[in-house]
Each structure stands twice: as structure tokens, then as C-alpha cells.
């Protein structure tokens, strides 16, 4: 991904309406994003364009991806498993 595209994506991940997403997406950009395939990166960009509550419900497991969102499933799985790093 081009630098500019990545930095735009980064801003849209680290400044969300919900703290839960700020933390989870920041962590994922730092730890998991590089390992996504090109197709998965495209799907990730689409996924994070979802409304905050919808995205958080998917990541937290309160809701599952519907049929139209099947391409999100591998990324949502990775976001759910994304390792936790306590600041202290």
C-alpha cells in the first residue's frame, strides 16, 4: 500500500468515535496489518469504513458478518484474536 493511502487509513483507524475501536484498530495496525494479503488489505479498508457501532459489534462478537460481508470474516477473526498489550 502506498504511504499516503496507508497514512489515510491509519488516521481513519486511530480517530474513531468509540474508544474500543481506537484501541483495537491501533493495535492491529501495529501488529497485524502488514501480514494481510493485498486482497485482505482492500477488505480491511472497506471494513473500517463501517459505522462505529456496527464494526464494534462485529469485532466484539455481538454480531456476525452477514452474507454480503463474507469477505470480512478472515479479518474480523484476526481482529478478535489480536493480541493484547497492556500499557503497563
Amino acid at each position: 500500500m502506498e504511504r499516503q493511502d496507508y497514512e489515510r487509513l491509519r488516521w481513519r483507524c486511530i480517530r474513531r468515535a468509540l474508544l474500543e475501536l481506537d484501541i483495537t484498530l491501533t493495535r492491529f495496525l501495529d501488529d497485524g496489518f502488514d501480514q494481510l494479503t493485498e486482497d485482505e488489505q482492500v477488505a480491511f479498508v472497506e471494513l473500517v469504513a463501517l459505522e462505529d457501532h456496527d464494526l464494534w459489534y462485529l469485532i466484539s462478537g455481538k454480531e456476525e458478518c452477514n452474507d454480503d460481508e463474507a469477505h470480512f470474516v478472515p479479518i474480523v477473526e484476526k481482529l478478535r484474536k489480536c493480541s493484547v498489550r497492556l500499557a503497563n
Partner: protein, 594 residues
């Protein structure tokens, strides 16, 4: 350097609830209105508000705005201005019904009225019993509100500048506000927004604390800009905290966990609440629990490397009960603490939630400051509403569901006042030749500095200082040290360095600019908190305890007054609380107890 100038009748900074509500008034009045936002409007932090919006509609049972007013004055611990509180409570029904007409999908009763639910602190008949006053849209009230207002703005031709960061307020020699400088993130280009009216609706600054429920976007940009332009900040010592946020993350753990039998423990695994509240123990009220947690941490009995959190233990509870009665808590533990709460206790800490103080405003939304003997002289051309402003309706402590009401009422009121002033003939005033110089110099310094301070480390130093020295329960000696420490952090914040020098999408630069705003708020908070030698509402000091002479530590004789922190010389002055409502009898002083 020649800087592009965009001319508007009004420029609004912030596209959360208050900004969008203001914009509706201006655009529908036919005024050319720009709204600047760091993110797409429906990603503003208003989205996170779930509780609802208070209005004495009386749809479910008898209610009256005077009862709501009484609750708000009492909630504020009598620091709220009673003219502003009357204005807000009286206007509540109007702004809620307007929102309904904008298409807000409120929950409804069987007969089609807006459904209302009870909420802490809202009572009927002047504190007699709980009343159903909160209007909500499922658990997405803030989100639904933003969507309804955004659509209304699109219809009214409001011009949105999305992913733009406002940098500095432009004032001329006579103190008039003429607009803002702002940076387009996509290009790094700095532009002057030259306006006849400038409205700040930039939200709170909860990110000054290490543990905060606020999203990362809440960096107090409006307060930082106001402070740099010489405008004082009011009552910044008052911040609302929740007792149990996940340490290191800030995500809230519902108080229901303690209700279901959760036990707070210190580093020795001791159930410390037995010492502070022998009867209620872990079910003591929010302030007692927060105070006990803060004391344990201060006295070195906290957990972890930095001994800065305690543990919330539910491992003795039946896992089936946890999963059934506390849905989501298991996931929160795993996601944000790395802890399986069925097997290990959760690390928790009192967590900042809401800023009661802010840019001083009249209830009309006009920004006011001391000038020539007038403590409330209007700053011409400048308006503010929502969490960044201090009208002051929340005083020393905000009631739940009054924050969404604040942003609707004072967003609208700021918009109305701007329309009124512009229609009365307020024109574009000539821009000073150096209108953008300060902003350009700040950016250039950040871009070119070598050997400066790291943004992340400086932010962390500020957050830890605020958490340790001006947290939920405050100690005189810690506050004194805190002032020295935060002034040290300020030196670093004035010397930030970034590695990335790109123009386009330079998030490092944006975060450095945010840090320059955060430090203004942190400094105002610490110095204001150190100076107020009583306990009131959310400002609770160990050295101002509950006594017969001063119930709850509140000292009305000396401290029934608003703090005004001047960022110019870090000085403080005070102004009286307005105890005189607009049309009704004042709510007389008494001890705040529930």
C-alpha cells in the same frame, strides 16, 4: 508566504452534536456556513453517548422543567449558574421535539409518544423520587442524533470540511474573533477561514488523563486554541470519573460487576473496601469506592509494575452467572486487559469520563471573559457550545443525560446568537497581516526541530502526571507536586519533534499539534485543582473532608465561585456563581445528598 483565505459567514469547528446543531441554525438562516472536523461528522465522539437526552416531556408520568432544574442545580453541587440551568431545562422539550422532527428514531411508547426511562439523579417534585425523563434511541442515542442532524445540514447546504484540523483562533487587536487557521490533512495545506462568526464545538479533552473513557479524538483542540488566544478557561478542576475502567485502556467495566458480587483487592489481595466501608464494602457509593481505590494506589498498595491499579475479582462467582448477568465483561477482559476474568481478577482504575469546565460562555452561547471590570464581557464574534464550553450548567458535577441536552440547547443557542449578531450587521473585519503566522511558526517548529521531545513520551508523561496528581480523589501535597511536574511536561510539549516530514497525511504532525492543545488543558486543570481548597462535586480533596462546619468538605463561604484560569500567565481569578434564575425562585444552598 501567501495563505489561501476562504470567506464564510460562519465557521464552526467540530462536527459532533453541538457543532451540527449550531450549523443547522446558521445554514437554515441562509448564512454561508463551514463546518471543520478532524473526522467524518458521524464519527464524532457524540456517537458513544448511549444514556439518552433529558427532557421533562412528562410522557410516562408527571414531570416539570423546574424539577429538572432543581436536580441539575443539586447535581452541580450549586456551582452551576442558575440562569443557564433554567434556560437549558426549559428549552429541553423544544430541542428534543425538533430532533424528532429531523427524523431521530426515538424509542416510543405503545401510544406513539417518545418513551422515557429513569436515570440517576433525575427526580420528580424537587428530589422526591426517581422520574422517567431520559429519551433514547435504543443504545445508539448519540449516533442516531448525529445522523439526523447531519442529514438536516446536508439539506440546508452546510459546507463540510472533513479531515481538516483547526489550528488557531484569529483575533484582531481589539479582541474580535475573525475565524481560524486550519490544516487540510490530505495535503498539509494551511488555510485561513475568515468568518463573521466563529463557533467552537470541539468536545472534551479527556485524553489528558492516563485512564479515560474518551476516544483518542478528544484532545481539547478548542480549549487549546482559546487558551493560546488569551481566553481563560473556566472550572477546569472539575472532571467526572467512573470508578472502574480497565487499567491501561479506559474501557468501562459496568458497576453491575460489583453488584453481582465483584470484590476489589489491592496488591496483597486484601479486600480493602472492608476498611473504608465496613457495611456496604464493595457496594459503597461511587465516590466512596473511587476514593478508596485512589488511597490504596497513593499509599503504595496498587498492583502492577507501576503500582497504579487495583484488582476487581469475580473469580469466585459462578461462570454461568457471569456470562448471563454480566454480558460482555468476559470479552472486555480478554480484549482490553488480556485477562480471562473467570480465572484472574481484572485490573481497574478510576477513569476520567467528562469535562465539566471549558471555554466560558453566557447561556446565549457567546464566549465571555473578564475585561475592564466586567467579568462577563462578550468576546465579539466568538461562540461555543457542548463539552468544550462552560455555560455553566454542570457546575461541579454533571447529571447523566444532561450532556446530550447541553449540546443540543447550547449548540442551538450559539447558532441563534450568531445569526442574531450577523443580522444586526456584524461584518467581516479586516484580517491582521500576521493572521496565520503563529500557526505556520508552530508547524515549522515541529517539522524542523532536532533533538526535541518525543510526542508519545510527552503525552504519556502528561497523562501519568494528571492521573497520579489530579485524579478522582486529590491530595494537597500531590497537587502541589503535580503543578511543578505538569509545568515540566509543558516545557517538553513546547519542544516537540517528529521524524516524518511529509506534507500529506502526516499523522505524526497532527498528533504533535493535538499534544500542544492537550497540555493547555492539563495545565489549567492541575493549577485550578491545586488552588481550590474545598471539596465540591467531582473535585474531592483529602484535606477538605466532611465536617459539621463543611458538609462533604464544601465551603460555600469561600468557594462558591467559578475558577477562571488565565493561560497567559498561569494565574487564576474567580467570578461569582449566578444564583439568580431567569424567572423562578433560586434553588437555595443545601448539603448535596441522595
Amino acid at each position: 508566504m501567501s495563505i489561501p483565505v476562504l470567506k464564510f459567514d460562519a465557521v464552526i469547528v467540530g462536527a459532533g452534536g453541538a457543532g451540527l446543531r449550531s450549523a443547522i441554525q446558521l445554514s437554515e438562516a441562509g448564512l454561508k456556513t463551514a463546518v471543520l472536523s478532524k473526522v467524518f461528522p458521524t464519527r464524532s465522539h457524540t456517537v458513544a453517548a448511549q444514556g439518552g437526552v433529558a427532557a421533562s416531556l412528562g410522557n410516562s408520568e408527571e414531570d416539570h422543567w423546574t424539577w429538572h432544574m432543581y436536580d441539575t442545580v443539586k447535581g452541580s453541587d450549586w456551582l452551576g449558574d442558575q440562569d443557564a440551568i433554567e434556560f437549558m431545562c426549559k428549552k429541553a422539550n423544544e430541542v428534543v421535539v425538533e430532533l424528532e422532527h429531523y427524523g431521530m428514531p426515538f424509542d416510543r411508547t405503545d401510544d406513539g409518544k417518545i418513551y422515557q426511562r429513569p436515570f440517576g439523579g433525575h427526580m420528580s417534585n424537587f428530589g422526591e423520587k426517581p422520574v422517567r425523563r431520559s429519551c433514547a434511541a435504543a443504545d445508539r442515542t448519540g449516533h442516531a442524533m448525529l445522523h439526523a442532524m447531519y442529514q438536516r445540514n446536508v439539506k440546508a447546504n452546510t459546507q463540510f470540511f472533513v479531515e481538516w484540523m483547526a489550528l488557531d483562533l484569529i483575533r484582531d487587536e481589539e479582541g474580535h474573533v475573525l475565524g481560524v487557521t486550519a490544516m487540510e490533512m490530505e495535503t498539509g495545506q494551511v488555510v485561513i477561514f475568515h468568518s463573521r462568526a466563529t463557533i467552537f464545538a470541539t468536545g472534551g479533552a479527556g485524553r489528558i488523563f492516563y485512564s479515560s473513557t474518551n476516544a483518542f479524538i478528544n484532545t481539547g483542540d478548542g480549549l487549546g486554541m482559546a487558551a493560546r488566544a488569551g481566553i481563560p478557561l473556566e472550572d477546569m478542576e472539575f472532571w467526572q470519573f467512573h470508578p472502574t475502567g480497565v487499567a491501561g485502556a479506559g474501557v468501562l467495566i459496568t458497576e453491575g460487576v460489583r453488584g453481582e458480587g465483584g470484590i476489589l483487592r489491592n496488591s496483597s489481595k486484601e479486600r480493602f473496601m472492608e476498611r473504608y466501608a465496613p457495611n456496604a464494602k464493595d457496594l459503597a457509593s461511587r465516590d466512596v469506592v473511587s476514593r478508596a481505590m485512589a488511597t490504596e494506589i497513593k499509599e503504595g498498595r496498587g498492583c502492577g509494575v507501576n503500582k497504579d491499579y487495583v484488582l476487581l475479582d469475580i473469580t469466585h462467582l459462578d461462570p454461568a452467572t457471569i456470562m448471563k448477568r454480566l454480558p460482555g465483561i468476559h470479552e472486555i477482559g480478554i480484549q482490553f486487559a488480556g485477562v480471562d476474568c473467570l480465572k484472574e481478577p481484572l485490573p481497574v482504575v478510576p477513569t476520567c469520563h467528562y469535562q465539566m469546565g471549558g471555554i466560558p460562555t453566557h447561556y446565549s452561547g457567546r464566549v465571555v471573559m473578564p475585561q475592564g471590570g466586567d467579568m462577563n464581557a462578550v468576546v465579539p464574534g466568538f461562540y461555543a457550545g457542548g463539552e468544550c464550553a462552560c455555560a455553566s450548567v454542570h457546575g461541579a458535577n454533571r447529571l447523566g443525560t444532561n450532556s446530550l441536552l447541553d449540546l443540543l440547547v447550547f449548540g442551538k443557542s450559539a447558532g441563534d446568537s450568531a445569526v442574531e449578531d450577523l443580522k444586526a450587521g456584524r461584518a467581516h473585519r479586516e484580517l491582521p497581516k500576521d493572521a496565520a503566522d503563529k500557526s505556520l511558526a508552530r508547524i515549522s517548529a515541529i517539522d524542523n526541530r532536532k533533538g526535541g521531545a518525543n510526542v508519545h513520551e510527552t503525552r504519556l508523561a502528561m497523562q501519568r502526571t494528571m492521573q497520579d496528581h489530579a485524579g478522582v480523589f486529590r491530595f494537597g501535597d500531590m497537587l502541589k507536586q503535580g503543578v511543578e511536574k505538569i509545568l515540566e511536561v509543558e516545557k517538553a510539549a513546547r519542544e516537540l519533534e517528529i521524524k516524518d516530514k511529509s506534507m500529506a497525511w502526516n499523522t505524526a504532525r497532527t498528533e504533535a499539534l493535538e499534544m500542544e492543545n492537550l497540555i493547555e488543558v492539563a495545565k489549567a486543570t492541575m493549577i485550578s485543582a491545586e488552588a481550590r481548597k474545598e471539596s465540591r462535586g467531582a473535585h474531592v480533596r483529602d484535606d477538605a473532608p466532611d465536617t459539621a462546619e463543611f458538609p462533604n468538605g464544601r465551603n460555600d463561604k469561600e468557594w462558591l465561585k467559578h475558577t477562571l484560569f488565565s493561560p497567559v500567565d498561569n494565574s487564576i481569578c474567580y467570578k461569582p456563581v449566578n444564583m439568580q434564575p431567569l424567572t423562578v425562585e433560586p434553588v437555595a444552598l443545601k448539603t448535596r445528598s441522595y
